[in-house]
């Protein structure tokens, strides 16, 4: 008789009925929203600084945009379940740091970081990290690149011009469609036959759009507000600004 075949006898009186279910829910939603917009040679990444649990505001100063290293242009914004979001940011920080020491002090390219982030997210395919990510940086030619991800990693290798995620993304996305990609806009006098051509916007215009998007989202979404963290990445490096949003 093999060891494994021998029956084990549970304690007498052990109930056969289905076990009581107090299912532990490993996820929660900590609210907030993030935006990324790529200019020609600069990148804007922004997020509000409110951190919520249900109707409670945990903190008014919790940042969602993370700089992945001090000497590269890589920036990651994450939103969703706060613990997973921060874990992804930390995993990416470590990867970028390790890469540097494994590759003769050469920094990870933004394309490589993008592919690596996919690997991280898809690696957790069967117990997903519940966070939406936007990754950005400048490539070797100094051009801005922006990638956005769903919780299990799918992303576009070509990159994007703009992305929004989080609680108020449904409010923000159509606004960006209109103001960044000029959707539903036509050249005057052409009787709606010629679409307005998409062009890169100057940095001050992009900042204005981002601030407008967040003040609007703050007005109409309870999980968005308190503060706006606005990060600019350009040839001049990393610049971070903080603005006030409504606290109600």
């Amino acid at each position: 008789m093999s060891l494994f075949a021998s029956p084990s006898y549970p304690p007498v009186g052990y109930a056969a009925s289905a076990p009581r279910q107090h299912a532990f829910n490993p996820y929660t939603d900590n609210g907030g929203s993030i935006i990324g917009i790529a200019g020609d040679d600069f990148l804007i990444m922004a997020g509000d600084t409110r951190h919520t649990s249900g109707y409670n505001i945990n903190s008014r100063t919790e940042k969602k945009v993370f700089r992945l290293s001090e000497d590269s242009t890589l920036v990651l914004a994450t939103v969703g379940f706060g613990a997973d979001a921060k874990d992804i940011a930390e995993t990416m920080r470590l990867a970028v740091n390790d890469f540097k020491f494994q590759h003769n002090l050469k920094n990870m390219t933004v394309q490589a970081a993008a592919q690596y982030l996919f690997t991280v997210l898809y690696g957790n395919r069967f117990f997903p990290k519940y966070a939406y990510c936007i990754l950005g940086g400048l490539d070797k030619d100094g051009k801005a690149r922006l990638y956005s991800y769903d919780p299990v990693g799918s992303y576009s290798k070509e990159g994007e011009r703009r992305a929004a995620a989080g609680a108020a993304s449904s409010l923000i996305v159509p606004f960006l469609d209109n103001q960044v990609e000029f959707k539903n806009q036509y050249v005057p006098g052409t009787n709606f036959t010629v679409e307005r051509e998409v062009e890169y916007l100057p940095v001050d215009k992009v900042k204005k759009l981002v601030k407008d998007a967040f003040t609007s989202a703050t007005e109409r979404h309870i999980e968005v507000g308190d503060g706006l963290q606005l990060v600019t990445i350009s040839k001049d490096g990393y610049q971070e600004e903080l603005f006030e949003l409504k606290k109600d």
Partner: protein, 264 residues
Amino acid sequence: MNHLPEAWGRPRDDVYGAYDHSHLRPSMPNQHTQEPIVTGTSVVALKYNGGVVIAADNLASYGSLARFSNMERLKQVGTHTVVGASGDISDMQYLFDTALEDLVIKEEYQNDGHHLRAKHVYSYLSRVMYHRRNKFDPLWNVLLVAGWDDGKPFLASTDLLGTTFSAPALASGFGASLAVPLLRRVCPDEESVAKISRERAIEAVEECMKVLFYRDARSTNKYTMAIVSGEDNKVDIEWKKDVELQKQSWKFAEEIRGYGAQIV
């Protein structure tokens, strides 16, 4: 004939067929701790100019039964930090008496003059909490870490999911709804920390403990308070143990309109 002891005194397989155990064993995965048993209620903490005040009452409840009335829920970790725990008491005791003790001892082995500061303790605790939630075996607590770090007061929170955040005023459990609004009146943002004196902070936290005792049915009137201060590069932790709530009065209730016995 099966001679193995497991089969003694049981129906013979060769006569009755192999015994069907399926009704004894549910075809379910292992169940870990999935509910708190003995619990502690809110922990309240507030930063001030030069330190942090943290407090938690001394009650450990078993459901609605006030089971242990001398359960301290604050622990000093190293020289710079106090951790407060609400939620499951046995999980708290694992963290306080096993995990954090081991952490501090291991850190001192190096004998390199480096001591754990609040941020390090917090980082460790939040990773433990997150790791356990990843294993689907959470430590059912909300922890507040108060301390002195890098010349500034430190205060942050982590919970059973590994969620982390920090703010100048924090409270767990019932306190998140009742105490935090009161504390934010004193200290709305990080900038205003500089304007709050030690006395004002203690007074505000004492008031919160009183309000919580009035309204939280799982609270008691005896609590522990720790004040971590870092004046002129020396960290000092003052403990106030077995403090009884002072100047209790339900007089204010007469002013309340909108519910209760009174008519308009």
